[in-house]
């Protein structure tokens, strides 16, 4: 049986991969994919906690998170399509009218 800590390590690794990608990649679609990676890492984490604590609440959270991940991808891709149509931009350096 795989111990709990392995799942935690997997989840943390995936979270770091995702956040790294969100910060350092410049392609907006890849950034959206990285969001998915992070949320899937959290799903793994919740499922593991739920399994090892013998508590079903975490599984319910997993379903909510899957739905939220889908919604977030939908919103992000909508904005990307809009951006591409209006400004022909797909890299985040091309979208820099505002100075933050």
């Amino acid at each position: 049986m795989i111990p709990f800590s392995y799942y935690v390590i997997l989840a943390i690794t995936l979270i770091f991969i995702g956040i790294f990608g969100m910060v350092f990649r410049r392609n907006l679609i890849v950034m959206c994919a990285c969001i998915e990676i992070v949320i899937n890492a959290l799903i793994v984490l919740f499922a593991a906690i739920s399994y090892f604590h013998r508590d079903t609440t975490g599984y319910i959270v997993v379903f909510f998170l899957i739905a939220m991940a889908a919604a977030e991808a939908a919103v992000g891709l909508t904005l990307i399509v809009l951006l591409y149509k209006k400004q022909r931009a797909i890299h985040s350096e091309e979208v820099s009218e505002l100075k933050g």
Binding site: L45, I49, D55, V61, L79, V95, E97, G100
Partner: protein, 482 residues
Amino acid sequence: MAYLNFNVIGLELLFFLIGCLLFFVKDFIKKEQAAFFLSLVTLLFALIFVFFLPFGDFTQSFRLDFFSSSMKFLMIFGGILILLLSRGYFNKYLVLNYPEYFGLLFFSLLGSFVMVSAMDLLTFYIAIELMSFPVYFLIAMGYKINKKGIEGAFKYFFLGVFSSVFFILGIAILYAYTGSFFFKDLIFVLGKKGTHWEILLGALFVIAGLSIKLSFVPFHMWAPDAYEGASLPITAFMSGIIKFSVLATLVKVMLMAFFPLRIEIGKIFLPIVLLTILGGNLMAIKQQNLVRMLAYSSIAHAGYASLGFIIADFTGYTFTVFYAFTYMIMSIGAFGLVAWLESCDKRLVEIPNLGILGKKNGLVSFLILLFMFSLAGIPPTAGFVAKFYLLLGLVKAGSWLIAVLVLLFSVIGAYPYIRVVKCVYMDKALEKVELRPFKWEFWLPIGLCSVLILLMGIYPQPFASFFYKTMFLYLSFFYFGS
């Protein structure tokens, strides 16, 4: 199996149905203003409807009580102001007048209603997302009049995703160490176990997630961009109602879930809040654009409001909600005025061009003076009273050093507002600008805001005690159990 008490979620059901209806209202009624009037009537109805809803639970994760329904009342009030401002703004920018605009506004309000009465962290999370998703689209809608709209929406979206990731991570840690994320279980377990660093870590992540929505300093970059990109009524909505609802909910979470940890969480808040106030105020100084200046000031004001978490007792939380409400009124008024200025001429949004106002329109100049004084915290306005209460609370809690620091920061922060007043009254008119008439869609909400500001500034006691009473029920809940 407990039966479901649908009366409790009456307001949410109403908003959900009307929000759905608003998306295809143009198929039934061809009139241009149909969506506006439908949403206005609904909000006015809801303003009264709130009083007739019974208190109670809807399953374990949703509870309507005195606190949440009074917060909902205030949010609906703010929503009416935003709606009127949008109407006035659409007179100039007709391209924005989609029924979807109002529908999305309704769904965002629905999210903040659910958020205030959430009783577990999962409902809280879903409600935050429900509150923010429509706002991304509302910001992107500003593209029609302002090319920066989509970019602002994009930045807000990515930071929003970061926020939700942090928030879920916090929930996961709390869930792993306490075995539940219902508030009533959390407070029980935390009271029994005492402070563990794991639980504090979870709370820290939850706060980090919320602090993106509140634009605290490490995560503040989205705020000026999104505020500048959005159309101005939406900016008022973001800085007023969303910040108010998130702060009110954070207070509720602190009272209902993290009450045994309130001192430690106050210590976590301390550097964030001080940096936020300092950073927001410093960066507001060099802005030439009125919207960006107000955006940085909104960062600073979220910091002021969160001082109540450092005080970490009931009076502190009361003053936090009081400050958040005051800021909601102030920012809706100030952004409303900016919306009027922008609908006259886009050049008026730059601060040095404001000189023409003092000569041409005395009323608007006076209103700008009033709102800027209130934002700077000069008596007899509400901004002064709210800041005074918070500083008083800090001194009473023994942290007078923080109070002195905040006072110094707010002296720095007074400069940009006073500069606007100076530009309005003392500068020469640089350019020829035609001013539009100050119509009822603008003077009604802005006038209401200014009357409220003066009222709260001169006689604040009933408002403060009202907010204290909303929290008093939680006090009794905490002492006598549920």
